[in-house]
Symmetry: C2
Amino acid sequence: MIQVADALKIIAENSCKMPISKIKVSKSLGFVLAEAVYSPINMPPFRQSAMDGYAFTHSGLNQFEVVKTAQAGDFLDEKIEENQAVRIFTGAFVPDDVDTVVMQEYTRITDNLLQIDKMPVAYANVRAKGEQIKKGELVLDANIVITAAAIGYLSSLGITKIKVYEKPKVAILVTGNELVSAGKKLPKGKIYESNSVMLEAALKTIGIKKTAVFKVKDSLKKTKIVIESCLENYDVLLVSGGISVGDYDYVREALLKNSVTELFYKINQKPGKPLFFGRKENKIVFALPGNPASSLTCFYVYALPALKKMMGFEAIHLQEIKRKINTDFSNTSGKTLFLKALYDEEKVTVLESQSSAMLNTFSIANGLIVIPHDIAHVKANEKVVVLPFN
Amino acid sequence: MIQVADALKIIAENSCKMPISKIKVSKSLGFVLAEAVYSPINMPPFRQSAMDGYAFTHSGLNQFEVVKTAQAGDFLDEKIEENQAVRIFTGAFVPDDVDTVVMQEYTRITDNLLQIDKMPVAYANVRAKGEQIKKGELVLDANIVITAAAIGYLSSLGITKIKVYEKPKVAILVTGNELVSAGKKLPKGKIYESNSVMLEAALKTIGIKKTAVFKVKDSLKKTKIVIESCLENYDVLLVSGGISVGDYDYVREALLKNSVTELFYKINQKPGKPLFFGRKENKIVFALPGNPASSLTCFYVYALPALKKMMGFEAIHLQEIKRKINTDFSNTSGKTLFLKALYDEEKVTVLESQSSAMLNTFSIANGLIVIPHDIAHVKANEKVVVLPFN
């Protein structure tokens, strides 16, 4: 049995970054950039008007003949004389012969004759070519997480494909003779299986959609075969159940027979003590407790960081924030406790019903309070560590 | 021109909840529950062992003959005598004749003879039928947002379908003669169009995937036709560009000719001043500024709350938190400013380059600082309002 911090360290050390793929920028939300991106163009690609107004050459004159109109998207390459001006709109190409744009608010126009009432300085309201970014300059550093803004930014520079870390494919293996799929009749002694849909949903929250669910009855032979196939075809295996005292040897045997190296089994924590973590080459295996709330706690605290490490994230663990706890709390267990909680900007409230079997509390929690194994008492209003779910 | 707070109020008042649909629980992540859900079963559905150990009748005896084994999933309905016990595992059905489970750690077993060394109290380690939730009791209240935990919880009670508010279908209409799709050659005077992929990605972050992008050249006739079709087939229309001073009348005319009621145009803010919001029956229209960073700011601050209202969310606006700003800041514009920023638990840093055209800063920001229109100076270390993304 190991402590929480040691388990997290072992997981981080044994989760390997996924291979790199080139994917479409439009499909890259939530992926992590695997290499720095440099701009293929100047932005703006030409001298661009920053205003609706008139473009002219700054020479001392304040009256001009308006000879052309340049809307955004137009390209005017005709000669513009010193006494001539161009009606121009925001974003439009500024013809090569002129250097300044005056806002329309500072002008009067009579027929084609422009009178500038308030003369701007030379070069005013003209964005220089490459003012925002120059061809060859850094657009985005490697290892950033692609957001909607990043997708817009890359696209605005004409970039359509980027290199990212692939997302792991995850197999979920559900064990337990007692389990029946929701929607079916519930025979005596059976309960509904819920961890597979729960884990698939939890995986979706970090953008992992390539998942498959396998279910086996409590048979060593069948379990061994399914695990073998999962390890061949998926990057991560989450086993649900079959890992508590009574039945541990059974799933463990199937894993060991498949050459999975056990990196730890059992963490000094509540809930989720019987967590197994193993590795076979670059594939990793978590055997999660069967109790739904324990399972989800272990998923967020341990499996999520492993998956994020594989996806190329630099910050892999749940964020730690500190909040004032609403109540005195005793921890006589000597274990690290993870308590379902509701936090706001000031405080955090321990929710009722911390049972490891039920998800009622988890459904309304927005984070977990961490009470370390070596802290026996926490007083109301003391600051405790909270792990927000987001 | 109206103030930010008034604009937010008008949007909240004019965004209507979407119709209700029954969908699969397994597909319900991020949807909002439209009606309370009550449990169709008792949970556990039977008296259940909470431990691996032995089940027996608490009568004063401490020696028993072990006659059966009950694994999770088994249903034993044979007679168990007072001097008999059942080997039992966590989660298993506790036979009707017995009432107590002793942990295996407190027993010795010789052949089939069980000796209990530490007698538990009567009824120990047996979860009562319906202990966690009883048939007919409330499972989840209406209006909660479905999380992975909620999906697990509902599934564990055998619930496969729930009523949720539908997600709006969103049309994105991009206008502008200057725009060329990324991946194509960039002719002189043109720039790459990026708002459509950016907005599609931003919509995905709140789970809206039913989107379609339409592009029109600057033609009133064509724009009017496309808007008509968007208003027929989609719930929300986001127009990108064509709404600044120079060209406003043009998109506006096309909207008005389609009987869209203008609810406001122009907000006293920077960036994003020329924001248009309108409504036609239950359909809403935002005409967002064409500048990418302005467009995304307006999306997060205004369109997102409207979409969340439609999806049934109760908390629709970006959360407001307070952080110490890293620098003195002057706001002589008389406008509300939204500044791209990086915040942590203590402070918030105003990022360089607040240009409305570029997304470089937005790509690394994790929130927006709000400087109200009537605040002219903020001192370093003063607390300011931050709107976190997420």
